[in-house]
Symmetry: C2
Subunit: 449 residues, 2 copies
């Protein structure tokens, strides 16, 4: 019953290993479905945007030179030659000394090279307008090709599409786009003590938590969860469900094996597949140390600890980076979390050589936000539910002290409760950072150097 | 052609007005579908979790008192009475002087009150084990009800469900949960100059950008976009499409009316509905000033500026808060964005009394991250595409200076490119904040006070 020797890897080395799994195939999809997908092709502008000189104001299209020297007391007097119809290119050339009514977004007529804002004018009658301020050539105008020029690279392969990127593709008339396929993740829970949630666990058993936490994390990582099942502690069952998972999805995550015996079972099952290789067995983070990473054929299989918290920490730091790589991104790391600054309520010891993720609950203390470490035993889900986020203690740090100002990585992009209302000013005063966009004056300005 | 007087509202007042739209009805859904939904009921623990004293280690269940005084040189000698079977409650009481092999997650037998880690033991033979270290009562044990006790409130109504919250519901055996219905948003583009993306815009026209940017933003806000169509600049068309939108979705967003004439058309159409009210016409932010907010019956209708950038800024600051409120959250504000600290590359003037959102591109400069303001005219999509995020300049601030350290609110929770690799240390050195979780030593520790 000796513990097997774990070849404990550094987290950055595990992330480095993920690169060998490459990326998934490409597919062409409608831009209406492409939000937050990763482009597989570099996209170049096929035409100038805008395709014509366009007004950015309501006012009058003019020859700029006709307004030179115009002031309140000595306005320029121009003849109004008509009005630009929205959605049409004016069919005539604006002659010197005349002006054309124009709306925001309207096309400038040939000859004109600037727009005078309506606020700088007064119409004397339907045919005559006074201009009180000179405009420079191309003032209040977006010139043809000023937004994008034909041939310019707009988006590079490997870029995950944000809303504005889709707007850009729309502006270029791109109806479809080549993206990497969205990865799918087979989820397996294991352990004789795990029962489905619709069963009342017999004494000594517990309901399957990881199926639900990990499925939600797969969705959060913009991938597709595929539920396989619960494997009892037998080599045959574990092997069979992993094989099903490899068929059903791009990668497999089996949690459980929280006890040494069932960990060994996962290792034994993985080693039993043709062309398989155990890449990692143990990583220097806490919680999450007993991570298993294997290659079966070209696919990655993760053995996560059975403890829900350890499983979540491993998922974020190793499975999410794999998913980003499979989807064609360069960055093999977790997505960024929103952060908040807070002061530690007590000392937190740590062991050198190990990266610790300490769950904290944020609380009010006068005008400060205090981070209270939650030292729930790792089998307990409550400390994750009660926590707002985590504080990371790096491998080369022996611990943090009471009163230290720390960055808390939030579990969500909302806190949505009293904390958000009461303490954002405290938080910002404590050193800047993320926060509500309206309630805190001067929050953006942290220091002048 | 005078500009109509805008009753310009403060952004916080507009957000305050949103509260009157209340929340949507409730529905019962499977917890497998409930990730990131908002709970409509407070959830109490119906039973103790765990339901039995559970080991957190592989080792031996013992009477703690049998180990008192045990050391390396004077180990306690215990008789091994057998092994705990995973998923079963041991059927006998552990008598003093004996120990039972147990695995992580296993149930302690009656009589035993602690677990000795396997590393602290040596088996002399199958029947005898030496214990080298004393354990305190309940050491390495999660006690019955220690995670959650029956009757305890676990989740409050209005809480948006994170992965761990679903795990908690699973642990409690909850198969379904009452949540607020997910809001839907009808999207309309307007303007005679707007054509669908599958058409080549005639001279003076442009393709519909806002349909795609706003649909993606609706999805990002965890709501459901419903595309209605493009309305030309006629009162009848605008009214008819808004009416369709009110039928099809919980709220309506009509963009366009970038020119004064079409803004007036939206106002006129909204005023023409029975039981309607214009609540806001103009807000003191830039870009985004010409925002319209109206009530039609019990529904909110937003008139967003036609400029893609202005439309996006308005959507984030006013439509997203409405959607959060409709879904039962208390916080009527945007979701938090991830942030990064950077130094401004140049002065940025601002007008007092107006909140400015300045788009910035992040660039490398030695060991620092520099935020370069992009002053694209607001009709241009390129400045949004080229930007990584925005810097906010508060209403009571007259501007920021070159070299000021500012918080950049990122457009995404990834940057995914060289910036992420090259500059995280620079960023952290510049004052802490969000960042990669592995590459920067000591990033969490900002200051000691």
């Amino acid at each position: 019953m000796d513990k097997p020797f774990l070849q404990v890897a550094r987290p950055e080395d595990v992330q480095g290993l993920l690169r060998r799994f490459g990326s998934l195939e490409r597919e062409d999809i409608s831009i209406a479905d492409a939000a937050f997908r990763v482009v597989a092709e570099s996209v170049r502008a096929e035409e100038d945007i805008p395709g014509f000189d366009r007004s950015t104001m309501d006012g009058f299209a003019v020859h700029a030179s006709d307004t030179f020297g115009a002031t309140e007391s000595a306005p320029a007097l121009l003849e109004v030659a008509g009005e630009v119809v929205m959605g049409e290119l004016p069919g005539f050339e604006l002659v010197q000394g005349t002006a054309l009514r124009i709306w925001t977004g309207g096309a400038l007529p040939a000859g004109s090279d600037a727009v005078v804002m309506v606020e700088q004018t007064q119409e004397l009658d339907r045919r005559t307008v006074e201009v009180f301020k000179a405009v420079a050539p191309f003032e209040n105008v977006v010139r043809k090709g000023e937004d994008f020029q034909a041939g310019e690279i707009l988006l590079r392969a490997g870029h995950r599409l944000r809303p504005q990127d889709l707007g850009l593709l729309a502006a270029m008339g791109r109806q479809s786009i080549e993206v990497y396929r969205k990865p799918s993740v087979a989820i397996i829970s294991s352990g004789d003590e795990i029962v489905p949630i619709d069963q009342t666990p017999p004494p000594g058993c517990m309901r399957d938590v990881n199926r639900y936490t990990l499925s939600a994390m797969v969705q959060e990582a913009r991938a597709q969860p595929v539920w396989i099942g619960i494997a009892g502690d037998s080599l045959k069952l574990v092997s069979s469900l992993i094989a099903q998972g490899l068929q059903a999805a791009d990668t497999v995550v089996i949690s459980g094996g929280s006890s040494m015996g069932s960990r060994d079972l996962v290792i034994e099952a993985l080693a039993g597949f043709d062309d398989s290789e155990i890449l990692v067995h143990g990583v220097s983070i806490s919680p999450g140390k007993p991570l298993i990473l294997a290659r079966v054929g070209s696919q990655a299989v993760f053995g996560l600890p059975g403890h829900p918290i350890s499983a979540m920490v491993c998922f974020e730091h190793f499975v999410v980076p794999l998913l980003r790589g499979l989807e064609g991104e360069d960055a093999l790391r977790p997505f960024r979390r929103t952060t908040i600054h807070a002061f530690l309520s007590r000392n937190v010891p740590s062991r050198e050589g190990r990266t610790d993720y300490v769950r904290v609950r944020l609380e009010s203390a006068g005008d400060r936000i205090v981070a209270v470490p939650l030292f729930g035993k790792s089998g307990m889900i409550s400390s994750m539910v009660r926590a707002h986020g985590f504080v990371r203690i790096d491998a080369d740090c022996e611990g943090l002290y009471r009163g230290d100002q720390v960055t808390v990585h939030l579990f969500s992009d909302w806190t949505g409760d009293r904390l958000e209302k009461e303490h954002l000013s405290g938080h910002e005063a404590a050193g800047g950072g993320a926060g509500d966009l309206f309630e805190t004056p001067q929050q953006e300005l942290l220091s002048r150097v």
